[in-house]
Symmetry: C2
Subunit: 422 residues, 2 copies
């Protein structure tokens, strides 16, 4: 008997029919002798509907008092879900009870709309499990020290599920989604893309932050911190496939660097075309340039991704960075209006038609030559590299957007990702 | 400065536009120097939508475990309402904070879907009022000793508002509805029907239970028990009418028998065509007959209203009672199948085409001749009376359904109800 946490996304909870299917799947796991905690999201579309109503009444809900009310409103989506799922389980003959975040309780700080979990009490849940019940817990929410409802922000249900799994010392946390696992890259770009049976949580962090939208990145950080074994799998398989088969499906996110993982130098190719590149040309190469350029950008709440400053030439250098494409024009205007002049820069130039392509792999740490394989593969396709950044387990290049698919396919092949792992 | 509780029904909260109008009305009262607590219902249709989803998953939610989940689900309707109204108030520049039943807390017993309020803590709410905030509290719900969410059953928001007013020792509880007060009878039947400026809570109890659907009867009982001055008024007046004018509008439900009230012998005419009459003919007049006949009916969860047993004739009597029209056939079948035979009754006969018409008035206590005025008025219209029952402040007759409107009009005139009170 194992203690398993299941997490189901909004699409899986999208209708009473889908909820019934979730209940049958959970009932199957109970029938196989396991203890189950289930964390469902709000029914798809519900959170948007609720926040849409709120926005009609107060378009600019920035004060703490207003954000407190947003949490009051948005948290009901998950509350409805847990109640409905508990009823569906009872209809299947499975004893069950639902809890909101405050009932568990899941304690958080008071940062309304983006709270962080501080602790989870396990007493109540453990008692129900011992009594043979499936416990259904709201994702996305908690309660602060003053007894106010808080929410964790978008996608917070993944984090809730992992946090509950950590607090309960669950054997595994299964994240059911509308994809059947983590792939070497997006199969829509590379048909040969292969589902990974395992991926290290560090690689998963890089894949997630680079645009693989399978998991909320905070949940992966949480899983890493508390060493919660976490599996991404599909909720669209027939509910009645054997438990053993389901338990091996999807992709397991692990923390142990076993032999097999060492073999794969590169685990996947991530890509992202949401960025734009900006270069401040010909700035004097003096200490404090970076903060002078990026300070006002950050102050305008614009997120910066890649930052690059090359060696200087005759006391002048070019300073480049990328921002989200939506922030491109605003950033260029901001720099032209003030900073560039102040620094005596020659110009501010930008390019919104770029893409970032990254190879990710924990094996890169100990393997030389990975970057050069990458650059050679791109060169053979005549793809010009505009920027390069590296970290321990990731190498990213910025290229012309039009070459993105070609680059991803070339790299997928160059690192033998279409070959099944040994 | 007075402490005022406002209660708004689902129609008043039916859209963001309507919610904005409620916020402006509340803001107006705050502007006039009052402290405000607001208890809104769920947006119209929302509770039905939520319980509809629940019913799809578990059609027969009778167990305590299932009813607990229904409360978990249904209570979210009001939670969304309080959050939205708090935001709308903030948009009007009025500091406000919303609370669910468990946050106040409103303590109830554990009778899920029909819980009863046991106590209401006033500390938190009082602190917010003192800090100059409008406090918006969910109706319809509370928390039991084990920390489970409970609901009070349909219409429970009226009761919540009165209970909050009692706990906070509010100066008045204003129930905003889609009618502008309590009338001497239904204006659709008698165009001359007049809005009552005041009505005693005992009369209101009789009017409510007899089918004037203005207020939930439990809220009136509660108001009577804790002597909460309660006013029924319209939420469809322009929100910006002067506070003084609004404060005098509608109908005040009082507890003091002042002189003016003594003058009105009959305050109103209530009627109801939802009932059916059943007579068990020719039963031996022996002790225990009533319980032998009604016991099985009650055991089948059929509510009984009027009960009548006349004097016996040659040791036999006829026993009549009324049930809801929906239960008519089931009751007749039940009696024919068992009890009637067992008692040696001659027959079981019924009539579904009846109506009950009642005169209600606290002045009846001390005035003889009220009943005879009633019977004479009906007789003058050639309306045959099938059953009569009386209580201290009410006299009801059961008549042919087709005469109902005629009877109501005749009685309204006979008791001078179309004349404005002195």
């Amino acid at each position: 008997m194992a203690l398993i946490v299941h997490k189901y996304g909004g699409t899986s909870m999208g209708s009473t029919e889908r909820i019934r299917s979730v209940a049958k799947r959970v009932a199957k796991w109970v029938g196989a002798g396991h203890q189950l905690i289930v964390v469902p999201s709000a029914m798809s579309g519900e959170t948007n509907r609720l926040l849409g109503l709120a926005k009609e009444l107060l378009p600019d809900a920035r004060s703490a008092a207003a954000r407190r009310e947003l949490d009051m409103i948005a948290s009901t989506g998950e509350q409805v879900s847990v109640g409905l799922l508990a009823l569906a389980l009872q209809a299947e003959g499975v004893p069950s009870v639902s809890y909101t975040g405050w009932q568990v309780p899941v304690r958080t700080d008071s940062s309304y709309t983006k709270a962080r979990i501080e602790s989870i009490d396990d007493v109540r849940v453990r008692a129900d499990l011992a009594a043979g019940k499936v416990v259904v817990i709201t994702g996305f929410q908690g309660i602060d020290d003053e007894g106010h409802i808080t929410t964790l922000g978008r996608g917070g249900s993944d984090t809730s599920a992992v946090a509950v799994a950590a607090a309960m010392k669950a054997d595994e946390c299964l994240i059911y989604t509308d994809v059947d696992g983590v792939y070497t890259t997006d199969p829509r770009v590379v048909p040969e893309a292969r589902r990974l049976q395992t991926i290290s949580f560090e690689e998963m962090l890089e894949m997630a932050s680079l645009g693989s939208k399978v998991l909320q990145i905070r949940s992966v950080e949480f899983a890493g911190k508390y060493r919660v074994p976490m599996r991404v799998l599909s909720s669209f398989t027939p509910w009645d496939i054997p438990v053993d088969e389901e338990a091996r499906s999807g992709t397991l996110i692990t923390f142990e660097e076993d032999e097999k993982m060492e073999k794969a130098v590169v685990s996947g190719i991530a890509f992202n075309r949401d960025e734009a590149k900006i270069t401040v040309v010909g700035v004097p190469d003096k200490p404090g340039i970076a903060s002078k350029i990026l300070g006002p950008v950050a102050a305008a709440n614009i997120d910066i991704d890649v930052i690059l400053q090359n060696v200087s030439h005759e006391g002048k250098t070019d300073f480049s960075f990328t921002v989200h494409r939506n922030d491109f024009q605003r950033t260029v205007d901001l720099l032209k209006a003030g900073v560039a002049q102040e620094l005596g820069a020659a110009d501010v130039v930008g390019d919104a038609k770029i893409a970032k392509v990254s190879i990710v792999g924990i094996g890169m740490r100990s393997h030389a030559g990975v970057a050069s394989t990458m650059f050679r593969a791109l060169s053979e396709e005549n793809i010009n590299i505009k920027m390069i950044t590296t970290s321990e387990i990731k190498t990213s290049v910025v290229i012309d957007e039009k070459y993105m698919e070609l680059a991803v396919r070339a790299l997928h092949k160059a690192f033998d990702l279409d070959q099944a792992a040994a």
